[in-house]
């Protein structure tokens, strides 16, 4: 009997890379927003 690879390793790699990239990008943008907001003069702070 020939063992058939169902290629789940490729699926896992694709989903892991996509999730890590998108979460990483969203967090990076949010952190920069917070940092800039913190440095705003008091009258401009929302």
């Amino acid at each position: 009997m020939i063992a058939v690879s169902h290629n789940w390793n490729y699926v896992a790699a694709g989903y892991a890379i996509t999730t890590a990239t998108l979460v990483g990008y969203a967090v990076w943008v949010r952190v920069r927003i917070r940092r800039l907001r913190r440095n705003l003069p008091d009258e401009n702070r929302a």
Binding site: S5, Y10, V11, G14, I17, T21, L22, V29, R32, L40
Partner: protein, 240 residues
């Protein structure tokens, strides 16, 4: 909870539902790398978001170029959308490559669709680099708007490349020449849901990136104002 948080929550629910359907409900396909076909639900939405994002960048750039509608908002929106588009286009290339290995037996091939997509990615990387070049806001805005419109020419070329050249990459699953939809049932539903979920995520990320661009613009203006005030003060001291 603010509308922004509600939108984020709805986006996350749509993404999780997509993930569950893609990984646990949809069937594998023998001619698409068995279970590797599940990468379809990432690859296609990422490609769609790339096209959408660069379309928004082109439209915003056009609005910035027309004197009657010229506003800094369009320039900032063009930059925000391009950056998000580059992230999704990069992911489309990586996920496509991962899917290509078990399906085609190769990570990369200089096929028409793959090549035009890679060109698209590098064109917008160049656009983002151009946005960081030193110049006055007006000069930079004009330069970037023209570059964005030129780069957008590659979007329809990339999209139609599978019809024009018919190399390794398959033709459109839904929008092909004969409008013959090659997907149905749970696969079609999951693909539509994935496209909706990713579009919502694009909306959230562009809004965030736009807010960041506005804050950066404000900081630059404040720094310029401080520099001018210091210069004036220094000149007054010299005069006295």
């Amino acid at each position: 909870m603010t509308p922004k948080r509600w939108f984020l929550a709805a986006t996350l629910v749509a993404l999780v539902a997509t993930g569950v359907l893609a990984l646990a409900v949809t069937p594998p396909r023998e001619n698409q790398g068995y279970d590797a076909v599940r990468l379809l639900y990432l690859h296609v939405p990422c490609a769609w978001i790339g096209y959408l994002a660069f379309g928004v960048t082109a439209l915003a750039s056009l609005l910035w170029l027309v004197p009657r509608t010229r506003n800094t908002v369009w320039d900032l929106l063009a930059g925000a959308s391009a950056e998000v588009g580059v992230v999704f286009t990069g992911l489309m290339l990586v996920v496509g490559s991962i899917w290509g290995k078990p399906t085609w037996g190769t990570w990369w091939e200089w096929d028409a669709r793959l090549t035009t997509s890679a060109i698209l990615f590098f064109l917008y990387l160049g656009y983002l680099a151009l946005r960081r070049s030193g110049a006055t806001a007006d000069e930079r805005g004009k330069r970037c708007a023209i570059a964005a419109l030129i780069a957008f020419v590659d979007v329809p070329i990339s999209y139609l490349s599978v019809t024009w050249w018919q190399t390794l990459h398959q033709t459109g699953t839904v929008f092909n020449e004969k409008l013959d939809v090659q997907i149905n049932g749970s696969m079609a539903f999951t693909l539509v849901l994935a496209v909706v979920a990713f579009t919502m995520l694009y909306g959230y990320l562009v809004r965030e990136r736009f807010e960041l661009a506005q804050l950066e613009e404000g900081r630059e203006e404040r720094e310029l104002q401080i520099a001018i005030e210091e210069r004036v003060r220094a000149e007054q001291v010299v005069t006295v």
